[in-house]
Symmetry: C2
Subunit: 502 residues, 2 copies
């Protein structure tokens, strides 16, 4: 009956499979591929990416989409139906793909691989100047990207929409500013109250094999389905989906840095649970993926921080951890261990930051990329602006650019703009979702304390995961929480309850 | 200057990369993919395979090939030049791809996945009848395939050409018949002379980890470049290439069956060395692959049998093996070990057969598939014909079909015809190549005895591997050996020298 929609689904499947294959090419390169094959792999990815791009911008897809949309209207299919949602999401993506010319994409890909090389050199030389001319061009390309679109209030909006459709500078900027204002005094208070010599229990050697076994036991207990996924080792942890039954995560283990493997595993598992929880009926379409980077990050953060760094969690798991590491931990009390994994510290590197200061790192980057895009900040002044903000917000000063403006790959691999909001968006959202879940599951803390995480996971499955990309971020928040939109309060409450109590 | 050839190379690259990606999809499915994703992986492979098929049969490729061929002629490019060879090989492949209709390929793919399922059930039920109707259709499809082509002497020829272009029934049938005639008495003689109670040293438990370490040490010593490849575990060992710098092999380990992992590793390494040795300038084209299944098999067999099961090889490696397994092997002498890995035995299963009886298994299958294709043998009579030949040639009788006609996947997964000749072709050729190498490297045995395999590998690189598919099998034999064509004598000499001496 729904002939055009059937045709559209058929078309969508081909795109979906090609995206999945691109994911495998990436996963394999990061895990098992002989490193000598990097150049060949780049060509394979470019070949497949080109074919995919062609299919995504084929005018026949445009015609099919119009016809399918008409069918949706004629049949009064409701907004939340799979069919109406598919048309909506594919039309939005098609519009974007058509606006961005193939020539631009090729220029950008070529530029970004050169920039990444220059960035690696700059990092080694600890000197921003090495990559500065490249980054100037990245900025120009980013501004060019924005101008492919119209109807935006702020030049950063189309860049934010690439990963967090539904949010704009006008919404995020005040929210982040408010969060910063709340965090600065909170961090000072916590630091003043916090034990000046945090427990040293993590500064020991934890054998790699045992860390991995413990981590896998935790993942299984939290609900990661090893029949539909796996965990491997990579230089940088990530989660990636190849199919509804094939979602893989990676981790890295440092024997002298216990938190790294465990919390990165739980973090990536959060991303994976989201993808694994999407309704199977959406498979083979663009809807079978998390709806935005920020919402995705809310799930990795929820599992990593709100669950994985909570006291109830460790009331249940700490005895198990002690059986894995009797020599290292038998004399460490649970409160000491809990404090050790929740120590707050002003520091230079985002990826090593604690839960509380982490947002300051993100907000600095968000503000800077917005100012770069508007022209309020020049590329040449970026390192100094960076230092200034670190001094002001975090009270620390990078000794050189590699500890500063060169530390993250984002700007040196992709565009400037839309690269960082997802992290703090995710933190804020994680608390908003968790608060709603806790309201509907009254004894959730008690459940966690007894090792029962399945009600929480079911709640997330039902209220967030299963929808995939049927709804954009703001829509999903309304649906899952009943709130009007993104709210900062639950996160502030969560932070002050957790860290105020120190 | 060579504009059309440049264009052709560009076109060839896309095909090459897509083939490489298909290989990765296969490798990943066999190694690390969660098994629950098999259905999704099938769809991914079908999607990509369809795109590739379309590009391979695009009439624009036909026009480009004609133009490029003209350019080759106008510029008097010699037969052995990369350019002339590329045109030749691509034209041949294009002709095949155009003759076989897309509709036929779809029917065949659908049929083969159903047949494989039926075969699995038949194997479990130990009853050929379960799969018989499917196999009847496979035979019809195989005959249909042959009729897409013209100018053949024997209906099996187009099927043989799929994997061993350059050879036909009229050449292979007499050669295999002669080999069988020589083998039957030789096997009887060997069995009569051979120690009736072969050394029991292999009937012990060899720990998996140590078997793998020993195997990797051997591979490295023989010249497998772990910077450009790797080894993983799978249910069925194979070798596969994703790029000039990415050739992977797999193995399987049975703790109570020491020979399996080691000799399958060396076997697959032989395939890998061939692919790794192809001239880098051929990469990105159809020429960057071994020229035929039989020639490929000659390399896996040469390394596995002529080298890996030889006395000089073990004179060098046996002391190392004893250090890996002191408990298991310290009281076993080298001659006993050598006899244990070279024991001849009449048996039912091809893949477990020794070097000498192996060919009888293959020739039986070759003869049967030729008779099926001509109609001389009916599918319903196949199991009985199988039993009859096993009784006659090997003096053993399968108790049920799973030990007989159901044992190999080949006919139940692909077409009938051209499936088995490569194994015996490979054996014959391995001796022909090795004899030539030994003539040009006079103290080759002595080199092997002292752990020097690099001259042999260099000879193979120079005379066989580097050419890729520039020459077909018969051409390559002439080039590498100076012989007119395939010769049986070197193999018969090799066998009677090795096994006559028992």
């Amino acid at each position: 009956m729904l002939e055009k929609i059937s045709e559209l689904k058929f078309y969508a499947q081909e795109l979906y499979h090609l995206e999945s294959i691109l994911s495998l090419l990436f996963w394999d390169q990061a895990t098992y591929m002989p490193q000598a094959a990097a150049l060949a792999r780049g060509k394979q990815r470019a070949t497949l990416g080109g074919i995919l791009q062609q299919k995504k911008t084929d005018p026949r897809l445009g015609l099919l989409l119009s016809a399918a949309e008409q069918e949706v209207r004629q049949n009064n299919l409701p907004y939340h139906s799979n069919e109406a949602s598919l048309c909506r999401a594919m039309l939005r993506q098609y519009d974007i793909d058509r606006r961005v010319p193939a020539d631009y994409i090729n220029r950008m890909l070529e530029h970004s691989s050169k920039t990444e090389q220059a960035w690696l050199k700059a990092k080694e030389a600890q000197d921003f100047k090495v990559v500065e001319p490249f980054l100037s061009q990245t900025l120009a390309l980013s501004q060019e990207y924005a101008h492919f679109f119209s109807n935006w209030d702020h030049i950063a909006d189309p860049l934010i929409a690439r990963s967090d459709y539904g949010w704009t500078v006008s919404q995020l900027k005040p929210l982040f500013t408010k969060l910063r204002q709340e965090l600065l005094p909170l961090i000072s208070t916590v630091l003043a109250k916090q034990n000046q010599r945090p427990p040293a229990c993590l500064n020991q050697c934890f054998p790699k094999k045992d860390q991995l076994s413990f981590g896998e036991e935790i993942l299984a207990k939290l609900g990661f389905d090893f029949e539909r996924g796996r965990q491997d080792l990579t230089a940088h942890p990530f989660a990636i989906k190849m199919a509804h039954e094939d979602v893989r995560i990676t981790t890295r283990v440092a024997e002298d840095h216990f938190s790294e493997a465990l919390f990165s595993s739980i973090h990536e598992m959060g991303h994976a649970l989201y993808e694994l929880g999407i309704d199977k009926t959406l498979e083979g379409t663009i809807l079978h993926q998390g709806t935005s980077s920020g919402v995705h990050e809310s799930q990795s953060r929820l599992w990593e921080n709100i669950v994985g760094r909570s006291l109830p969690f460790w009331e249940y798991f700490y005895p198990l951890l002690q059986t894995y590491f009797p020599k290292e931990l038998s004399t460490t009390s649970l409160p000491d261990f809990y404090q050790a994994i929740n120590t707050v510290k002003r520091s230079l590197i985002r990826t090593n930051a604690d839960e509380l200061t982490y947002n300051l790192h993100v907000i600095i980057r968000f503000d800077l990329e917005v100012d770069l895009l508007t022209g309020a900040l020049k590329i040449k002044d970026l390192p100094e602006a960076w230092r200034e903000r670190y001094r002001e917000d975090l009270g620390v000063l990078p000794e050189h650019d590699s500890q500063g403006v060169l530390q993250d790959i984002h700007w040196y691999f992709d565009l400037i703009g839309g690269q960082f909001q997802c992290y703090t968006l995710g933190n804020i959202l994680s608390a908003q979702f968790f608060k709603t879940a806790a309201k509907q599951l009254p004894n959730l803390s008690e459940q966690m304390r007894t090792g029962n995480f399945s009600n929480l996971k079911n709640w997330l499955d039902q209220n967030i995961y299963r929808h995939g990309s049927k709804f954009d971020g703001p829509e999903l928040i309304r649906l899952a929480t009943g709130d009007e939109g993104l709210k900062l309060e639950p996160y502030l409450e969560y932070l002050s309850k957790k860290f105020g109590a120190h």
